[in-house]
């Protein structure tokens, strides 16, 4: 019953809610597990050399890879991140717009739904051969694939979100004097924000997966290309480095989105 606590705390002059807040052990557990894994990694590679460098490069080998690659690593990471951001923003925005339009106009729903339902279960990666034929190995094909993945997530998310708006909100708004435009702007749009934001989050992870996979099959720059090239010479230190790069970028982006959405949807009951 946090609701009661919050209510009490909001009353001026009410006694402070809790004297000594309980210590939250959650973050400590997370840090502990990560540290343990890092120590284990060092132990089995550098410390005891139980695992061969080829199968799992040591932290030192990873550091050597970083210093050797230097600016090239930054350039590759930048290329991948740029593609991810562009395709994610573009694809998601288009998905929201089309999703809203489909929720608004029945005929559009009937026109587009079969196509969307057919394309949605297909892994975007399966389209790579076609994409290379259509777009070559330049940026546009990778942007197309990343955007397609985000688009599919957002179109479905948006139409479902509009359908989930409680009818009682719409009736209340009408009886308070809102015209249909007012209902749309002041009720439907704000009500779907939490679901839209959670779609953005899913889309961002998907964009990384799809863009890097597309880079595997040919690119002038990008983490995917870096990993593929290194794997041909069995340079597993660089492969590991590339993977870590992707993970870091994805986590940072995801954290940024979730921070922003926690603020934007601070009104929502559960987050």
């Amino acid at each position: 019953m946090t609701r009661l606590d919050e209510t009490a705390a909001a009353v001026p002059g009410a006694p402070p809610a809790a004297a000594a807040p309980k210590r939250n052990l959650g973050p400590l557990i997370s840090i502990g597990v990560v540290t343990a894994l890092l120590v284990l990694w060092w132990t089995v590679t550098t410390g005891t050399e139980t695992v061969k460098q080829l199968y799992l490069p040591s932290p030192e080998a990873l550091w050597t890879a970083i210093t050797t690659l230097n600016t090239q690593l930054l350039a590759d990471a930048g290329a991948t991140l740029g593609r991810v951001l562009a395709s994610w923003i573009g694809g998601s925005a288009l998905g929201v717009v089309i999703g809203l339009a489909m929720a608004r106009a029945r005929w559009l729903m009937y026109a587009l739904n079969p196509i969307i339902e057919a394309v949605r279960p297909v892994p975007p990666v399966a389209l790579i051969p076609f994409v290379i034929l259509w777009f070559g190995i330049g940026d546009s094909g990778k942007l197309f694939l990343g955007a397609l993945a985000c688009f599919m997530v957002m179109v479905v998310n948006t139409t479902v979100a509009v359908g989930n708006v409680p009818p009682v909100y719409l009736q209340a708004a009408r009886s308070l004097g809102a015209d249909s435009g007012g209902v749309y702007r002041s009720v439907v749009l704000p009500a779907i924000v939490p679901e839209i934001l959670s779609g953005f989050r899913i889309g961002s992870a998907l964009a990384f997966a799809v863009v890097v996979a597309a880079e595997f099959l040919g690119a002038d720059a990008g983490i995917g290309r870096l990993i593929m090239q290194a794997s041909r010479t069995l340079n597993t230190a660089v492969v590991l480095l590339g993977t870590i790069c992707i993970a870091l970028m994805a986590v940072v982006l995801d954290q940024a989105i979730s921070r922003i959405s926690a603020h934007v949807t601070r009104w929502a009951a559960q987050r």
Partner: protein, 256 residues
């Protein structure tokens, strides 16, 4: 002026397999600034009647008019408080109360004045900036009531608004409603299955028959405008309550 005229209204819900008569040739006149409470067995079409007055649905036959103008759809002259929680969670308490005036294009300064007035009337001035999730169920209902009132309707339609609340919260809500209604009298139609609630709040109590609903009887409530919660202990009050309970049981047994 805000007089509601319900003239031999029927409402039939038809699906491919079934035809349900929710309301059967019902006629009723609700006077300006009168509080009419509608009681009846559950599923008897009370809510249908309210939705018809609100304009959310259209009658199959007959007509409903407000001061002689036929009701053709929902509009700001008829605000509704629902049983379900209809307070907008993305707006603060003040934002919710401001919704009606904002939609109707009221200037900002007058809006602020109105928000303050109704926050005060429902006793939520300290919670103007709170989001609904921070409020209890009873407080949210008060926001809902204030929001409906602040939009400046001629008619207030309440559909079992306090049905989900516990008795103590309900009593507070009754007092709140009476206080707000005293400050700004309106024509009020209040649907409930709670006979005491109907008698405490209403000038008249309409008893409905089970589906297909018609008006079974109309009870004039003789207690005047000044009522406090102890009124319920009054023998006259209890006598009326038992009368209504009997007639409800009667109409129920007839069909059962």
């Amino acid at each position: 002026m805000a007089q509601i005229t319900i003239d031999s209204v029927s409402k039939v819900f038809a699906t491919a397999r079934k035809r349900t008569v929710a309301l059967n040739e019902t006629s009723l006149t609700i006077d300006h600034c009168e509080t009419v409470c509608v009681v009846g067995p559950s599923g008897c079409g009370k809510t249908t009647m309210l939705n018809l007055i609100a304009g959310f649905i259209r009658p199959t036959a007959g007509s409903i008019s407000l001061d002689g103008r036929e009701v053709e759809g929902p509009a700001a002259d008829r605000a509704v408080v629902f049983q379900a929680d209809a307070v907008f969670p993305w707006l603060t308490v003040a934002g919710n109360i401001a919704f009606g005036p904002r939609m109707q294009g009221m200037p900002r300064a007058r809006r602020a004045e109105r928000i303050e007035r109704f926050l005060d009337l429902v006793g939520l001035s300290d919670f103007a900036k709170a989001y609904p999730k921070e409020l209890s169920g009873g407080m949210r209902k008060r926001v809902d009531l204030a929001r409906a009132y602040a939009s400046g309707p001629d008619v207030l339609l309440l559909d079992e608004p306090f049905g989900a609340l516990d008795l103590f919260t309900k009593e507070t809500m009754w007092t709140s409603l009476r206080r707000v209604a005293d400050a700004e009298p309106k024509t009020i139609v209040f649907v409930t299955h709670d006979i005491e609630e109907a008698l405490f709040l209403g000038d008249r109590v309409i008893v409905m028959t089970p589906r297909p609903a018609r008006v079974h009887s109309v009870v004039d409530v003789p207690f005047g405008p000044d009522r406090n919660l102890d009124l319920r202990a009054d023998p006259d009050f209890q006598a009326l309550r038992i009368d209504i309970a009997h007639s409800l049981r009667e109409v129920h047994d007839d069909t059962a």
